[in-house]
């Protein structure tokens, strides 16, 4: 189990971010991805957690666009990362309203500043715009 007098799960995660890596944990035994990083896997309580670095590819699971006063619209999204975990992030590099559920995205580590440590955002992945099998646009899947 993580010795919390030495290092914290978030501290280790941040160290990876500083190296430009999106890190997650994998539980020994069942091999399931764990995110956010913890001292034990949720549900099973497995404490033997190994750190891995994601390839940084994922699919938009849910999306919204926030309208703060006197600011350009801001995307906030939930990303299903290919290694089997979900995280909150945002998709940059396109109009926030053009971020679609099912869109393939790739991680990009932002450097942060004095107040905000480095943190991962996503940009549209080159090549396949949409994950196979997922619908492309909300309006195209109306049923009934």
């Amino acid at each position: 189990m993580q010795d919390l007098t030495q290092r914290s799960p978030y501290g280790i995660y941040l160290d990876h971010c500083r190296k430009g890596e999106l890190a997650y944990q994998v539980a020994a035994g069942d091999g399931k991805a764990v995110f956010y990083p913890r001292i034990a896997a949720p549900g099973t309580g497995i404490t033997d957690l190994q750190w891995r670095v994601s390839k940084g590819l994922g699919t938009v699971y849910a999306t919204t666009v926030v309208y703060y006063k006197n600011e350009p619209p801001l995307n906030v999204a939930l990303i299903d990362v290919d290694e089997g975990f979900r995280m909150m992030s945002r998709v940059e590099g396109i109009d926030p309203m053009q971020v679609r559920i099912g869109m393939r995205v790739k991680v990009k580590m932002l450097p942060g500043d004095e107040k905000q440590p480095p943190y991962p955002v996503f940009t549209p992945a080159e090549g396949s715009q949409h994950h196979p099998g997922s619908a492309s646009h909300p309006s195209s899947v109306r049923r009934g």
Binding site: T64, V65, V66, V76, R86, I101, A135, V141
Partner: protein, 383 residues
């Protein structure tokens, strides 16, 4: 084992002053005002209260602060804080205490001055290093993402969402205590200021001051009091996550579990329910809860609410007070959700009264679709 159907009843309910209160009013002032009005409603005295249940964002140790304000020494107290559904949870916990003889008369109270002091001051968000850097506008953005999923998977439209706000407004116009006094159209909802897509400000609940209180006692004692008892037929509680990035499926809430527990205890099914009081923090929530509580199949909630189906004269009366969208939303709205359900069963709702309302379901939601608690109330014919 488990709680017994109709072992306890709600005997007193009251709102505090709602909307905009005077400067420097405290949340405890509002809780106390609700309490004394609820005592008047049932005829019990302050000294009869021996259980205190309370949760609020501005009062960290609610039961302690409220007991001090009221000058009582409760034998049982519970400050379960799971957001807006806390009070449905308190009903279940109060019932447990009353059934076991730990207390006889339980007070559940709430108060907030979030309109007066600002939402940011009344309910500061906890920093989450995995979410806060992305600056979601919480809680709106979490519910907006749930709506994005529902639209994507089931073809729910912004017009469907707007129908929920319009129905709430129609009910509110029948409730003299409602904040909103003007009619609202689907077009007005769609064209209002965008907050977090797909929600405009009209898809989001009001930000108002307010509070209230509910008093429960045993069914036997309830029969000796001023008004017709409103029995607690069933309760159910469920938690599924705390942060929206940890919600397994954004289109399925734990209301499916809390509802099934409450219906199981009550021995009832959705068609037995005459009136539904659902926590409408955002227009997507009644749609999700109608599905998860079994009033329509999963995915059909948007089409279910279309064409005025939950408005006055529709097929199912939902949020007859006008809801958090048009009546009052003082930050944690669950207590007011139950007060309307109780009044409908009592037949006290005047112009908005649902005919022959014998069974009313009140459903609370807390956090970001995180806690789900259901209470089913029944009138005399149900016991």
């Amino acid at each position: 084992m488990g709680l017994k159907r109709a072992s306890v009843a709600v005997v007193g309910v009251a709102e505090s002053d709602l909307g905009q209160v005077a400067p420097d009013t405290s949340p405890l002032d509002l809780m106390a005002q609700g309490t004394f009005r609820a005592l008047e409603d049932c005829g019990l005295k302050l000294s009869d209260i021996d259980g205190v249940f309370c949760a609020a964002t501005q009062v960290r140790m609610g039961p302690m602060a409220l007991a001090e304000y009221l000058g009582i020494k409760p034998r049982v107290f519970d400050g379960t804080q799971i957001g807006g559904s806390s009070f449905m949870s308190h009903v279940a916990h109060a019932q447990t205490a009353i059934e076991h003889g730990l207390c006889e008369a339980a007070l559940i109270a709430y108060g907030s001055t979030q309109r007066s002091v600002s939402r940011a001051a009344a309910s500061p968000r906890e920093f989450n290093p995995y979410e806060s850097p992305y600056r979601p506008f919480m809680p709106s953005s979490a519910y907006a993402m749930a709506a994005s999923r529902h639209m994507h998977q089931y073809g729910t439209t912004r017009e469907h969402l707007a129908e929920v706000a319009v129905a709430a407004r129609k009910w509110a116009l029948l409730n003299p205590k409602a904040w909103e006094k003007e009619p609202l159209t689907v077009e007005q909802v769609l064209n209002a200021r965008m907050v977090s897509y797909p929600f405009t400000v009209r898809d989001c609940c009001l930000v108002l001051d307010g509070g209230g209180a509910i008093i429960l006692t045993s069914a036997a004692r309830a029969k000796t009091l001023k008004k017709q008892p409103v029995y607690v037929l069933g309760t159910g509680e469920a938690l599924s996550h705390a942060s929206i990035s940890n919600m397994a499926d954004l289109t399925v809430t734990a209301a499916a579990e809390s509802g099934s527990r409450a219906f199981g205890m009550a021995g009832l099914k959705p068609p037995d329910v005459d009136m539904v009081s659902l926590y409408d923090a955002f227009t997507i929530t009644p749609i999700l809860f109608l599905e998860d509580l079994g009033f329509c199949p999963k995915g059909e909630g948007g089409r279910f609410v279309a064409n005025g189906a939950i408005a006055p004269g529709g097929k199912l009366p939902v949020n007859t007070s006008g809801g958090g969208l048009s009546y009052c939303h003082p930050g944690m709205y669950g207590l007011l959700v139950m007060i309307e359900a109780v009044r409908q069963v009592r037949g006290e709702c005047d112009k908005r009264q649902v005919k022959d309302c014998e069974v009313a379901l009140a459903h609370g939601n807390g956090g970001v679709l995180s806690s789900q608690c259901t209470v089913i109330f029944g009138g005399p014919s149900t016991v």
